[in-house]
């Protein structure tokens, strides 16, 4: 029945196999699906045709590193999100506080963050923020151990929808009313820091 296999029937099978596989399939895997021996060229041609058959739909056939797969187009995301309103994951308090210290006090060392937060900063926290592309090492402080100096990145501003750091919400001036004026004048450094 499969022999000879015409292109339309082959596309029909490929479509079902790729839609149901749950992941990308390599050419070798796709060849295994058919009883008859198929040439790579023939198979690729069928895949390319299938790909253009799907043009304009909300699902597309793409070739990625590990093979061919169907996937939803990016413009479907809002619809899919409404279907699965899973709560987006949240960063832990430790991560947020570390980020806040780095954002408001940059450039700072890990030691500075620890001083301000009053607790040790887990290296996983720093890694999380670096991998997110929100903080980076911009130099080393000239003290023993030469600790890294962290600052926020452009990516951080862009992800938070800010044009500049000065658009971060101003911190509550809780100290000002409470601190005697003399003290402020006495310790001007405290203001800037």
């Amino acid at each position: 029945m499969q022999n000879p296999l015409d292109l339309d029937e082959m596309k029909r099978v490929l479509e079902a196999v790729l839609l149901s596989s749950g992941g990308a399939l390599t050419l070798a895997e796709l060849k295994r699906v058919f009883e008859v021996e198929l040439g790579n060229d023939f198979l690729r041609r069928a895949l390319e045709e299938l790909k253009s058959d799907w043009r304009g739909r909300a699902v597309e056939l793409v070739l990625v590193a590990d093979g061919w797969r169907f996937q939803t187009r990016p413009d479907m995301q809002p619809y899919l999100d409404r279907l699965n309103p899973e709560k987006p994951p949240r960063y832990s308090r430790a991560v947020l506080e570390t980020l806040a210290v780095i954002a408001y006090r940059q450039p700072v060392t890990r030691g500075d963050v620890e001083d301000i937060r009053g607790v040790a900063v887990n290296s996983q926290i720093v890694k999380t923020l670096e991998e997110r592309g929100w903080i980076e090492v911009i130099g080393h402080k000239d003290v023993p151990g030469r600790p890294a100096l962290f600052a926020t990145t452009k990516q951080f501003l862009s992800d938070l929808n800010l044009r500049a750091l000065s658009e971060l919400p101003p911190l509550p001036e809780m100290a000002r009313d409470l601190i005697p004026q003399e003290m402020l004048e006495e310790q001007p450094g405290a203001v800037g820091l």
Partner: protein, 278 residues
């Protein structure tokens, strides 16, 4: 009815195929009670219990299920059970219960037909057995039907194509106010005499400090005036200058001028320490 029988035949066919003696397919089930001893265990495994065995005996002997010859059926059944017992096969209690029931029915049928139910109608002692056999056979066939329905995973697959954006979008979202709240938490927890007040002006100084450090890290050193961008306006120049002063104060940057009126340079403090050990 004929369909039922057909299905029953198919069931029997299956039992036949199950029966293998010493590797050889045993295609003929016994007409009489002789069973090659090695086959008995195999055959009995093919039955789902005494009802199944009874049904098979009835169908095998072409007995009408509604007009069971109790004598023949009981004898055959009990012979089977005895053979099982002799072979010391593990005999499920249900088989013995059924044997007792068959004997009871048979003996009641021998009694003169004077037994009446309250309404005065005759009561056939086989009725309950027939009802159970019919009901079991019905379920047996229904089970076969269920097994033949298309089944997800076996006869068809459901689809779940890749949704590429999901991974990226699952990153936590942070709003600027979250940072404010985080800062507030730090202060609250610290509840110390240390007070931090950072306004917009200070923040932009901090931002320029980072910018200058990044620039110097890439360039190594920079002519002082290159650090300023007059195009950004006067306040930007002031803030940049404040940032430089702060960097020097924190000993992150060195400002050097080799001789009067020579160009002033800014360089990373560390770089300076390493480049000019003197």
């Amino acid at each position: 009815m004929s369909e039922v029988l057909e299905k029953a035949d198919a069931a029997e066919e299956e039992i036949r195929h199950l029966a293998r003696v010493q590797g050889e397919l045993w295609t003929d089930l016994p007409n009489d009670l002789y069973i090659p001893p090695d086959a008995l265990e195999v055959i009995l495994e093919a039955f789902e219990g005494p009802l199944d065995l009874l049904l098979w005996l009835i169908r095998r002997n072409s007995l009408n299920i509604l007009d069971i010859n109790m004598t023949a059926l009981t004898r055959q059944y009990i012979d089977y059970v005895e053979t099982m017992h002799r072979k010391r096969l593990e005999l499920a209690a249900e088989y013995l219960v059924m044997a007792a029931m068959l004997i009871e029915i048979k003996s009641r049928m021998l009694l003169p037909r004077q037994e009446k139910v309250e309404e005065g109608e005759e009561h056939d002692p086989r009725a309950e057995l027939v009802r159970r056999l019919l009901e079991y056979e019905q379920m047996k066939l229904a089970a076969r039907g269920l097994g033949e329905l298309p089944q997800a995973g076996r006869d068809f697959l459901t689809l779940s194509i890749h949704i590429p954006q999901l991974a990226a979008r699952r990153l936590p979202h942070v709003a600027p106010d979250d940072l404010l709240a985080a800062w507030g938490a730090i202060l609250k927890r610290a509840s110390m005499t240390r007070h931090h007040r950072i306004g917009r002006q200070e923040l932009s100084v901090r931002e320029h400090m980072s910018r200058i450090l990044k620039h110097l890290r890439e360039a190594g050193r920079s002519v002082f005036s290159d650090l300023f961008d007059p195009g950004q306006g006067r306040s930007s120049l002031v803030v940049t200058f404040l940032a430089l002063l702060e960097l020097v104060r924190e000993r992150l940057v060195d400002i050097v001028q080799n001789e009067p009126f020579a160009p002033i340079h800014a360089q990373l403090a560390v770089a300076a320490a390493h480049a000019e050990p003197a």
